[in-house]
């Protein structure tokens, strides 16, 4: 497996180049650049706009701006944020822990929902299967935004059990406080993903269940429990794992809606701010982080397959 892996990594490098060039171009095509925010301020004169444009290099042709950005990026200089003048690396790194924390928590929660939901929906008959299917459909159909607000209404405003937003109570650094803040956003994120993942698992379980080796295992006298856990679930998890890792990559890149509803200080809220300001350097850095995360998570998924299914081992 070693050779194809290095080859895959090598293949991603030009891909990342192409992505960066396309997105850089697209960002500059969208009307309203980093200076748009000044336009409605009567104190900022047209002369000021011209001056700032030159100072930020925005008067250069787009290809030259891209070349400058790329040169810097490759040499490890991600540039300075257009909005606050701080190094882009600092802005991204300080937001990373919050996002990782949220993603990790929701991955654990989502996995806990996915397996029972998927198994029950795929294998059970009658009302348990229907309830499981209903739950995953509900999860898929719920507007994420609205679901987050309902969680706030019920658990913060109604019951007063949990804080409605933020990562911790300023001034309090305790673990309990941190966890309390994590519950609602992690649940919101987990519910949405578990719903989708359990649909995949259900389909895979149904397919696998019909395969000859399952019948063979049963014929050998294996108990139903063993058949399901060892012979059905393990191979059925394969396609789900791919989706899980891809989704994880996207979540690392920023859980925009969740972070917005719960004022979570991660990469998603940074992305929203940077997009509104057309903060090109920050946006490009976030985009490269996202692309890299997708590539890395794909590779990890490849590495995990053989652990789950012996047939993939070579």
């Amino acid at each position: 497996m070693g050779v194809p892996l290095t080859r895959r990594i090598a293949a991603t490098v030009p891909l990342l180049f192409v992505i960066s060039a396309v997105v850089f171009g697209l960002l500059h095509l969208v009307p309203g650049g980093p200076l748009a925010v000044y336009l409605s301020n009567p104190d900022v004169r047209p002369e000021d706009l011209e001056r700032l444009k030159r100072a930020l290099g925005l008067d250069q042709p787009v290809w030259r701006q891209y070349a400058q950005w790329l040169g810097g990026f490759l040499s490890g200089d991600w540039g300075f944020s257009y909005s606050d003048g701080r190094p882009v690396v600092d802005r991204v790194v300080e937001r990373l822990p919050a996002t990782l924390e949220l993603v990790a928590a929701s991955l654990v929660l989502a996995s806990l929902f996915t397996v029972p939901l998927g198994l029950v929906a795929g294998l059970a008959r009658g009302w348990p299967a229907r309830v499981a299917a209903l739950l995953s459909f509900a999860g898929l159909a719920l507007p994420v935004f609205w679901f987050g607000l309902v969680l706030q209404l019920v658990f913060s405003l109604g019951l007063g059990w949990l804080p409605s937003s933020g990562r911790n109570t300023p001034g309090l650094e305790g673990l309990a406080d941190r966890l309390a803040h994590l519950v609602l956003p992690a649940t919101m994120l987990a519910a949405v993903h578990a719903a989708a993942w359990s649909r995949y698992l259900r389909a895979a379980v149904i397919d696998t269940y019909a395969l000859p080796f399952v019948a063979a295992a049963r014929a050998r006298g294996a108990g139903e429990r063993v058949v399901i856990w060892r012979h059905v679930l393990r191979p059925a998890l394969l396609p789900v794992v791919t989706i899980v890792f891809l989704d994880t990559a996207l979540m690392v890149a920023g859980t925009v809606v969740t972070e917005s509803v719960f004022a979570w200080p991660g990469l998603g809220s940074l992305f929203t701010e940077a997009l509104a300001r057309r903060d090109y350097t920050v946006l490009m850095a976030l985009l490269m982080v996202a692309s890299t995360a997708v590539v890395v998570c794909n590779l990890i998924a490849d590495l995990v397959y053989p652990l789950i299914d012996p047939r993939v081992r070579t």
Binding site: V30, P31, G32, G33, A36, V37, Y38, L39, S40, N41, P42, D43, V44, R45, P46, E47, D48, E50, L52, A55, L56, S81, D84, G85, R91, E94, R95, A98, L109, L112, L149, Q152, F155, S156, L157, L159, G160, W161, L162, P163, S164, S165, G166, R167, T169, P170, A176, A180, V183, S260, V261, F262, A263, W264, P265, G266, S269, E273, A276, R277
Partner: protein, 531 residues
Amino acid sequence: MRWTARVVVAGIVLASCGRGPSGPAPTNELLIVGYDREPDTLNRFSTHILEDIQTCVIEGLTITDDKMNIIPLLAAEVPTLENKSVVLRQDGGMDVTWKLRPDIAWHDGTPVTSADVKFTVDAINDPSYNPESTDGFDRIAAVDTPDTLTAVIHYKEVYAPYALQFMRGLFPKHVLQGRDIDRASDYNRAPLGTGPYRVAEWKSGEYILLERVPNYWRGSEYPHIRQILFRFIPNTNTRINQLKSGEVHLVAMFPWDKHREVAAIPGVTVHRTPGNAYEHVTLNQRRVAAFRDVQVRRALLHAVDRDTIASAILDGLAPVTNGAIQPVSWAFTPEVTTYPFDAARARALLESAGWRDVNGDGIREKDGQPLRFTLITQAGFAVRESVAQVLQRQFRDVGVDMAVQLVDGTSISGLWFEGNFDAMLHWWQMPADPELTLFFAADRMPPHGRNINYFEDPAVTTLAYAADRTVDQGERKRLLVQAQQRIAELLPELPLYSITKLDAVPSSLHGFTGNPTNTGVFWNVHLWEFR
């Protein structure tokens, strides 16, 4: 289900710990503000608007109060012609003498002196620094500092808003001299000021915590509130939920469509402040030929029932306005031509301008061209979207076909700045100094200004410039009144209503007054007190 069990357990554990998630009641110990965004920087000359947080930390030589009067802050008095601190020179320039209040020190104990005034001017005019605006500073030829408390500003020409020149504050020379201010993160994230508060902590994406300074220059009893916490909550629903749960205490400038919801929260009072901004429809004469005819512009305004919009959609929160200068300004005049709702009159005006429905499709035509245009407005403003729909229907009633297009906030700025629109529903936040030049002078069309009606009238241009070059307020008002009357007569844009700022404030907070300008509500924060 396992997860509900977990949530329940977590809730019970927390509740039993005796500190539920609902925030502490507001007291003189801590005020928590729900803030719609995180500032880029606290450097007042770099940021794109005067931010509330800076107002608590940094003080200028003057400030605008709740009546939009310019009052002295670090200056001993506001220089005027009468007190002989403003002198018009023979060569067309002017000299302004600022006297600083004695015994004012930066938070690190260093005295504030005229050298800081001079340093501020030099830093802003230094091409290596990129402030957002050099307005006025670029007209300063030199600064003299005859003594530590006196700074004389020599302007190359008469600059009417001179009294607001140092409203944003001063740079501390001893901290910033010889440095790259754009990259001075220590200052930009926790600026050294003279105000009642200093920045104790800034946690990116989460909050900024301000802490009272021990020896504020107005007296050690000020400010009364020990800490102010600004939490960044961009989502409006979340911000209002937090207000309900008591996790935040104060939300400034919340949207109008939330008014009833917020007003119903116990312990919260909604403050209304008439703003120095007005909602209007910009008519791009460059793009739409029909808008070049004053009859058509008048007809459009006659077609709109602004009183009903104000009472039904705006819930009586915003009064109808007839021009760019609002009642809160000293330069305002109500003596202008008005265009009350009168659909019959609108139709008659359009008829006389040659617009008739020839083919019977309900839309008027002239020379084979239908009277048709697209209105752009910012997406996500519920009130604005509703107003756009009303305009659409009322224009349709008089035979004008208007389409509505919603555009995101940043894109819309790009569109209007390049003139790529027919008509636009939006507001201008007007400068605290009543200036019309930037918006109505013929040579101020983009990229040279914000005359995006592409309106050209020599009389308006002359009056607006004359007002800019007049220091005497009485004479200035006379010129601005004439300009307002002329603008109302020619009606380059359709004024709709005056903006009212809504602030949700704890009922037990005393001293809060609001502020119409972008100085923001914290202008008198040292007086705030819970009782």
